[in-house]
């Protein structure tokens, strides 16, 4: 055991530890999943193991213990990092459109489909042609 610890300590000087990490309740993860880990590539603060994400989880747990609500916690991070930290883009300003466009697009698709299925009257020439043929004496 000792030699491994020595070796690891040699390998990982950057990871010198002080105290063990705090306990995290399911609530912490639920909130952290909605927040971006600022230094990662497309990972949320719940998933990432980077120092920043660990710290974010710690802060969330701390704030929850202080009785802060989810909104207050998110607002705290938005104040620090801007709206960018939120994985669900807020429904206002420049990100309003990302919510509106899918609805608009689907509505348009629906309208298009409606037009597609609506009975279209046959073209006039075709009707006249048919009528003329009907009137023709059979050969």
């Amino acid at each position: 055991m000792r030699w491994v610890v020595l070796l690891l300590a040699f390998l990982l000087p950057a990871l010198a530890q002080e105290a063990p990490p705090p306990d995290l309740s399911p609530e912490v993860f639920r909130i952290a999943r909605e927040l971006r880990c600022p230094v990662c590539q497309g990972e949320s603060a719940a998933e990432s193991n980077s120092g920043v994400a660990v710290e974010m989880r710690r802060i969330i747990a701390e704030m929850l213990r202080e009785g802060k609500t989810e909104e207050e916690i998110k607002a705290f991070f938005v104040e620090r990092y801007g709206d960018w930290i939120l994985y669900a883009p807020p429904r206002r300003g420049v990100t309003l459109w990302v919510w509106v466009l899918p609805v608009l697009g689907l509505l348009l698709l629906g309208l298009g489909l409606f037009a597609y299925f609506r009975p279209k009257p046959l073209p006039k020439e075709l009707l006249e042609e048919a009528e003329r043929r009907l009137k023709e004496p059979p050969r």
Binding site: V4, A14, G42, D83, V94, G105
Partner: protein, 643 residues
Amino acid sequence: MTPALLGNLSVSLALAFSLLGLALALLAYLQGDGRFLRGARALVLPAFLAALAAFLALEWALLAHDFSLAYVARNHSTKDPLWVTLVTPWAALEGSILLWGLLQTLYTLLASRKPLDPWRASLVLAVLYGIQVFFFGVMATIASPFQTLPNPPQDGVGPNPLLQNHWMMAVHPVLMYLGFVGLSVPYAYAVAAMVARRYQTWVEETRWWTLIAWGFLTAGKVAGMWWSYEVLGWGGYWAWDPVENASFVPWLLATAFLHTALVQQTRGAFKAWNFAFVTLAFAATVLGTFLTRSGVIQSVHAFAEGPVGPAFLGFFLLATGLGLGLLSRVSREVRDTALFHPFSREGALLLGAFFFAGWALVVVLGTFYPLLVEAFAKAKVSVGAPFFNQVSAPLGAGILLLMGVGPLLPWRRPRKEVFRNLYLLLSVLALGTLLGLLRGYTLGASLAVGLFLYNAAAIYLLAREGVLARVRAGLSPWGFLANRRRVGSLVVHFAVALMGLGIAFSQTYRLESEKTLYRGEAWEVGGVRLTFQGVRALDEGRRFAVEALLGTGRFGEVRPRLHFYPQMNSPLPAPKVIYTPGNDYYFLLMDFDREKGEWASIRLIVTPLVFWMWVAGALMALGTLYILWPVGRAEEARGVSPA
């Protein structure tokens, strides 16, 4: 002979054969001369062999630890186990393009074997050769896997450790590429159909290709989800990562195409839709590669930045422009003239295809939105999982709803007895949802229960109908199984419903918790009683592993690990997953006392019904395989009714 020499030579040869093949195929079409076509056909095999030689040269370089190659130096280490070495060709950009090119030559080879009229045969070959020219052109110029280093290192760092952690990495990329490349054949046929103005038969002729591409894409996606679940250590299977999205979009469009193609095969309608969907599906595979490889988006999948991105973007625009440009030229001729009843099989199929295409649109929008905002509004925004989950839920529910009733509707217009079935199904849906609500599930989860039961009931009705029709006709009921298309699609549909149930529950009811335990300490969480018994370290050559020994009672001792790789500055958690039909228990070692091993931080994630998602994935693959299974000539001659 060195691997570099063999590789460079083979890539150049493959490029030369493809260029020559392209020229001959075009000449054959323009001159109407069969000799050129014979020439173009004759080059298919040499191009494949050259690509194969290039691929083997890369394997050779890896096996021989030839660090004079930049690719080997960057992605290989002498300490890699054999299987990792063998799959390293697709661990990074240049090798992936080589694999893609190799598979493209293989598909061209197989596609060229099919008898086809000389005009369209020349055009199909021209398109496929054109794609090959692009891939080998990229390899010969901006992304060569055989670039050499002036001062080769003694040893390399090996591939990204995330890719070494699980054997799935050997499988997932190959399946994805087989799917992506598979879409090139229907695309080539569609282009040929539009140029030669023969719009009807290509869908039937490429039915096999479309299905095989869809099957591989599906299997590849599920394999990737499983890899993410087992390796990435976050207990999830789908992160709405830009690259996941980029490969989800071709799947969605291929699914849309698969369903509208059915209408053209049966009723000769929806020709324009099919041209549009197949073009977009194929182009989306290229767009996905642009996203991954250009460095515009960072993710687990993104390998490196470089000039490859713009090349793929250009190719994407070319492929889309060719397909849609031709479509606009012939649009008057492929317009649907027949009347469609919305409440018919074709109505449901088109509506379903629109749900898939709309979904693809939403995913593209969400993926590109941050880029657009950054480019035009100079602001940074994130569009992540919460957004995609919210917009996907109604679309997924709509698809599940259509999937149940669609196959029960007759072609052209509804019959009276259909309504009886429909009321029956809707009451199953309502009852199932109510049952879920009574059990205290959320509305979404209850609806998922209802939709699952509704689909199961619909499949039962369909199977019963098929069997009864045979019995009434005095035939053996087992003959129903010979209707491969019907049976296979029912299996796949059931699997999709099961997948929907798994996704709804695993997304809604997920318990994630973390605690630091001291030796001997117990922790009661999520229905498990954990006791921490200590840590143990193992030297595995290329990495160190530290495992926590956890007593769980029910599941015996579990040992989640942390892996320390010399090339990574933070350790990678290797989770231990206990799969059960109800809940999955996902154990992670997050941290431990490095001095005395007195404490360890353990994370436990309990997720319901994930197990069934993997079952559903396997069923989807099996269902597709059942449809594709070669039918004996006798059976084919007997003819199996399509109903």
